[in-house]
């Protein structure tokens, strides 16, 4: 069964310049225990997607104009704030944010901020007896989790302020916090972007390991295809608010079918050939092109492409693309 199903989601922002169509009928599904890598350039709607799933699209100016978000079969867009706060946000769906320093409140010790989550958790589970007992258990769990993200001597960390830790340590704590409430889905919004490559590799390792152990599903948002390939079971590419291609990781790298994906892969640095860019730039999302939004930068584009959006087609098992003229080996 699909844990999360986003169906034809459209999100726009009303700005002074006009209506920015940030996400245009994008769909995605995440199965239980699956890691979906959501890849795309800056401004393609990755983070907006994450926010929509958590129900925290800033509104105004943002507005979800169309679509459904089914989490365990229930449409979260129809839930009220209270229900979202109690059962979804920070509980069933947690977030590992991009900037581990900015995401901590600078005024409170790490321990205090972890405790804040535990209060929610305890409230939700057993309000009646054995609260003290629960507290002890919870403390154990926090320590255990901090050990599992490879932070030795957790007691010392709990008494520190966010600015006293290194980027890697902060991000590990963020990961531990995201996994503390036994979530079903973790949204990781480029959690390694701000880190050194060496630390990046460690963090990815830890995250991957924990995800396998805990059997949680992950929506891993990144602009880095290499990172996505390391962690994801499936990869989905977005461009200017539209989904371009979605495929199992192996199939994705072996047979990229969408012209955009193909070009994106050519942008990866490598020994053997020169790095290519993609000429042109992302179209303005105010009055974007009618059809496929990649049309202005695509070699294979024809008249048809700019008139109507191509429908999603399955070209191989579980390999979906939105393109009239894909690269398909015949």
């Amino acid at each position: 069964m699909n844990l999360l199903e986003v169906i034809n989601l459209s999100v726009h922002f009303n700005t002074y310049q006009g209506k920015v169509e940030a996400i245009d009928e994008a769909s995605l599904t995440i199965k239980k225990g699956e890691v979906l890598g959501l890849v795309g350039e800056s401004g393609c709607g990755k983070t907006t997607m994450a926010r929509a799933i958590l129900g925290v699209v800033p509104s105004p100016p943002g507005k979800i104009s169309k679509g459904e978000i089914l989490f365990q079969g229930k449409n979260t867009l129809l839930m009220d704030e209270k229900e979202l706060n109690l059962s979804i946000r920070g509980k069933a769906i947690t977030l590992i944010p991009q900037d581990p320093l900015g995401s901590f409140n600078p005024l409170f010790m790490i321990g205090t901020q972890i405790k804040d989550i535990s209060i929610r958790k305890l409230k939700g589970q057993s309000e009646t007896k054995g609260a003290e007992n629960d507290k002890e258990k919870w403390k154990q769990k926090v320590f255990e989790m901090l050990n599992r993200v490879q932070l030795p001597s957790p007691e010392a960390f709990l008494r520190k302020y966010p600015h006293e830790l290194s980027g890697g340590q902060r991000q590990r704590i963020m990961i531990a916090m995201a996994l503390l409430t036994d979530p079903l889905l973790v949204i990781a919004d480029e959690p390694t972007t701000f880190l050194d490559v060496t630390v990046q590799a460690q963090i990815l390792q830890i995250l991957k390991h924990l995800v396998r152990q805990e059997q949680v599903s992950v929506l891993y948002i990144t602009h880095n295809l290499a990172v996505a390939s390391k962690i994801s079971d499936r990869i989905m590419v977005m461009y200017a608010g539209q989904v371009m291609e979605s495929a199992p990781t192996d199939s994705f790298f072996a047979n990229p079918a969408h012209p955009y994906t193909k070009k994106l892969l050519e942008c990866l640095p490598s020994h053997s050939r020169e790095i290519k860019g993609i000429p042109g730039s992302v179209p303005s999302l105010i009055n974007p092109p009618q059809g496929c939004r990649f049309v202005s930068r695509c070699d294979r584009a024809q008249a048809q492409c700019s008139q109507m959006r191509p429908a999603q087609v399955e070209i191989a098992k579980d390999h979906w693309i939105c393109c009239y003229h894909p690269y398909i080996k015949s």
């Binding site: 926010r51 958590l54 925290v56 105004p60 704030e81 209270k82 979202l84 706060n85 109690l86 979804i88 946000r89 920070g90 509980k91 947690t94 977030l95 944010p97 991009q98 900037d99 900015g102 995401s103 901590f104 409140n105 600078p106 005024l107 409170f108 804040d116 989550i117 929610r120 302020y161």
Partner: protein, 284 residues
């Protein structure tokens, strides 16, 4: 813990601020123990025409006023009036202004616009004239002076808190807290408010001095404290007729106002330097 130590040490290096704090502490102690400190506590209200307008002597170090009351005792008891006015006025301005600033800054809807425009309307009147008009309209008394001061002072707080909230609410940790499912009240009270506290504390401290000055002015103009309250501004007003002969009658209450307002300003400046280094003006 270390952060507080650093702040404390830095504060101690600022001699003026420490002096200001010392005077404020002395003021508070004086107010609390007024009945023990005053040489003649019974005589602050008692009229004694035989002793009127006596120059400072050993018995009356600051002299006596036109009703023969000991001026030193009246100044000592005046600290109570002063502190009550300042604390209540600034306190209520905080209670009104801070939540309005937080709400106006956090939400981006009609309510926020409405609250800001109301603050603007209050700010567009000269504060002192408005306080005076209110005090006159409601009838001259200490209570009404306090009310007038609170009503005219809160927009300053709401403006500062609004500006700071606008800045803090876009912090990533606020977004992260929203994503964790914290409700709006929690975000405002436990995450944004502590982050905007420094400018509030600084403004409130300087505001104390300002409020004491304004209250004294209202008393001087006859729309604040009424006789026979031992209020400093009122005392200066009463002394006018006897100047320059009975110089001590106006000089000592005036000095008291000056010293206390100065102390709050020095303390507030010192606090600002350590709490809000962005606004530091002294060339350190």
């Amino acid at each position: 813990m270390t952060t507080y130590k650093i702040i404390f040490r830095e504060f101690l290096n600022d001699r003026l601020a420490v002096a200001g704090l010392g005077i404020i502490v002395a003021l508070l102690l004086t107010a609390v123990f007024a009945s023990y400190l005053a040489p003649d506590p019974s005589a602050i209200f008692d009229i004694n025409p035989a002793q009127k307008l006596m120059a400072p002597t050993r018995e009356h170090p600051f002299g006596t006023d036109h009703m023969g009351r000991d001026i030193l005792s009246r100044i000592i008891f005046g600290t109570r009036v002063t502190i009550v006015i300042a604390v209540i006025a600034v306190g209520s301005a905080l209670i009104i202004g801070v939540p309005i600033g937080l709400i106006a800054g956090y939400y981006e809807n009609w309510l926020s616009g409405f609250l800001l425009r109301v603050s603007d309307i209050f700010l567009s009147f000269p504060q002192f004239i408005l306080a005076m008009a209110l005090a006159v309209a409601l009838g001259p008394s200490i209570e009404n002076a306090i009310l007038a001061l609170s009503i005219t002072y809160w927009p300053w707080f709401s403006r500062i808190v609004y500006a700071e909230t606008l800045f803090v609410k876009h912090s990533i940790f606020v977004e992260a807290t929203e994503a964790l499912g914290a409700n709006k009240f929690r975000i405002l009270a436990f995450h944004i408010l502590p982050n905007v506290l420094s400018p509030i504390i600084v403004r409130a401290t300087i505001g104390m001095g300002y409020t004491i000055l304004t209250a004294a002015t209202l008393g001087f103009l006859g729309v604040g404290a009424q006789p026979p309250t031992p209020e400093w501004g009122l005392a200066i007003s009463e002394a006018r007729e006897y100047l320059p002969g009975a110089w001590w009658f106006a000089t000592f209450p005036g000095t008291a106002i000056f010293v206390v307002v100065m102390a709050f300003n020095m303390f507030g400046d010192g606090l600002r330097d350590v709490l809000d280094p962005r606004l530091r003006i002294s060339g350190k």
